[in-house]
Assembly symmetry: none
Homo-oligomer: 199 residues x 4
DNA sequence: TATGAATGAGTATTCATTCAT
DNA sequence: GATGAATGAATACTCATTCAT
């Protein structure tokens, strides 16, 4: 079999996947403009035309990575809709679980997350969607009397998104805290506030 | 007075300021790479060599804008250090005032903020500084028993930064809410939490 | 019979012919440079290496089409040599017949004609040959007193070629006039001229 | 002045004109696709960016040359409209003069003519326009009884265009015959025909 | 007979930057 | 203080062509 070491040759799907993985790495750390196709292919051990065999253009592979992230995230949030009508005390743990899911996904897909949630132009749109999702989840709880009724849920949703964003970058990615830990920290704070409970 | 009829009566300093203002606008909305020197000078009504009369390179003018933002922000935070030893009840308003200051600054310097707080690579460093600042402010209150002692102030500081970040983009810049309004919303939520107060 | 189920039952010769036909179509309408091998093989339902099984290179298949045209045309003109020593009155009809033959050939081989007579670099050479052929035919008539002796037969031959060329494109290919009609129109004009016959 | 020999430096208009002239030469002899920007600029003694200082893209400079030709030709034909109501005998000389004008223009602008009348895709459109122009000129003579009434003027116009085309390439450009000579040859033939005048 | 996979070599175009005046 | 003119250095992308199977 394969004499004279045809790189890995095998299935073209492999080359494609390799390029995609390397692109994720590069885009995540150098950004779109500082990532050069020439570098990508070099790291993948293929030539430039091979790149264009699998991707229409630089923009296209970038978009594909964003879509991958976006799809993963929306799959996640779709699944983790808070189901209403559950008893009061489970609320914190349910929210925590949802957040933990997100942080876990981010943690397992750091490069994709950097691209789709931080660097790309589309990041803003993705965050907007996430905020909407969260807001709807929150509102469904209001009716049940979980939360104070006068809360601006849109504001809180955005605060949550900002929080997720920031803690991902400063606590999760550097490995300072794990998904569950961060999630419960957020939940505890947001639900109870910072003040020492005084009578 | 200007002999030999200078075009548009632009003293050198004026050309420089004009270029800087236009650059802020362009960098803020198109980002570093999509902003072209050729466009800048065209909008400023000068030629390319003129640009290099005032700025060493593209990177330099960009950095100057970041520095402008960075300086403004740190001036602000330096000024608004929470002074300890003040009575308990004034805490919320003092924090609110600090945040309001930040949002006002951001609001009055949208382009600079977009560049220095959102788009640039240095943004991360700036946020990190801001978080440290906030954290120190918070810690000084802990001793006074304002806050629950078990709070992770580093986490909360990052949450605050993320919150500032997100609300600036989604509420402040679009004009949905004003600085004071946003600031007090944040403070109220973070201090008291979301839960309806039940006995 | 074809064992081992050849795809589409295409014997090699069929693939070759198919490629040739498609190439004629493409080259004729898009020209050499805008015709891509990738498009050819795609339209033929084969892969690129298959193309190179039958043709040495792009240039080669193009040349083959030109040769096909060139051969067809010279076969035609060889056959239709004006035979000398025929009586005076048959001359116009004999010339008309020759031209009709050419137009018919062109009409039946539009793609080939477009390539070999219009688009290719070789077209010039082919026209030159045709002009020589025509000139010789004409000269043989001069001796017999058919034509005015002072005519520049080389000039007239070129005029005929230009005429054929132009009318092929503007009358024959669009279907405005048929081969015979065009041929007799030319002959009538060239023999008698445009002037109204006045005594 | 100008130490250290800045090429010809002078006015940018000169560089532009030089590039245009060289482009005409190259396009005329190698065609669009075989003409490389790199060659153009090399022959002009400038660098590639300089090319793009004056022309938007390869296509643009090509089009500019075509437009130059097209404009020149239509100026010419506009000027040389046959004016009706002149006496019979002057007709041949008037037509001859018109044709001479065209051949002279072609002769003086060989490169442009090669591009605009022979090689480009637009050539066909330009010839179509020329044919229309000629046809209208001819028709205006019919009324005056110059020509046989049953002549198909569209056909004749196309014949003339084909004739012009061919003789330009085979007689004019090689310098075998001059403009006037070719023009009068055509006129004589087309008006009187080839046949020897027998009673 | 046919192909999946890959590539060598080229080619237009862009942009920040700099002389000489 | 300002400019007309020019350039060095990249970079994405294309296409005919070819292995190895």
């Amino acid at each position: 079999m394969s004499k004279r070491g045809r790189k890995k040759g095998a299935s073209g799907e492999q080359s494609r996947a390799l390029l995609l993985a390397i692109a994720a790495e590069e885009f995540a750390h150098k950004g779109y403009y500082e990532t050069k196709i020439s570098t990508l292919v070099q790291k993948a051990g293929v030539t430039q035309p091979t790149f264009y065999l699998y991707f229409k253009c630089k923009e296209a592979i970038y978009q594909e990575l964003i879509d991958l992230f976006s799809k993963g995230l929306s799959d996640l949030t779709n699944k983790s809709r808070l189901e209403p009508g559950i008893d009061f005390n489970s609320l914190p743990s349910r929210i925590t679980k949802g957040l933990t899911g997100i942080f876990t996904f981010f943690s397992e897909n750091q490069n994709l997350t950097r691209i789709g949630f931080f660097n790309s132009v589309e990041a803003e749109e993705i965050k907007k969607q996430l905020a909407i999702q969260i807001k709807e989840n929150l509102i469904s709880e209001v009716d049940n009397g979980y939360f104070q009724t006068e809360l601006d849920m849109s504001l809180i949703a955005e605060i949550l998104v900002g929080t997720i964003e920031r803690l991902t970058l400063t606590k999760l990615f550097p490995g300072i805290k794990g998904p569950e830990e961060i999630a419960s920290g957020i939940v505890h704070l947001l639900l109870n506030g910072m003040l020492s409970k005084r009578e």
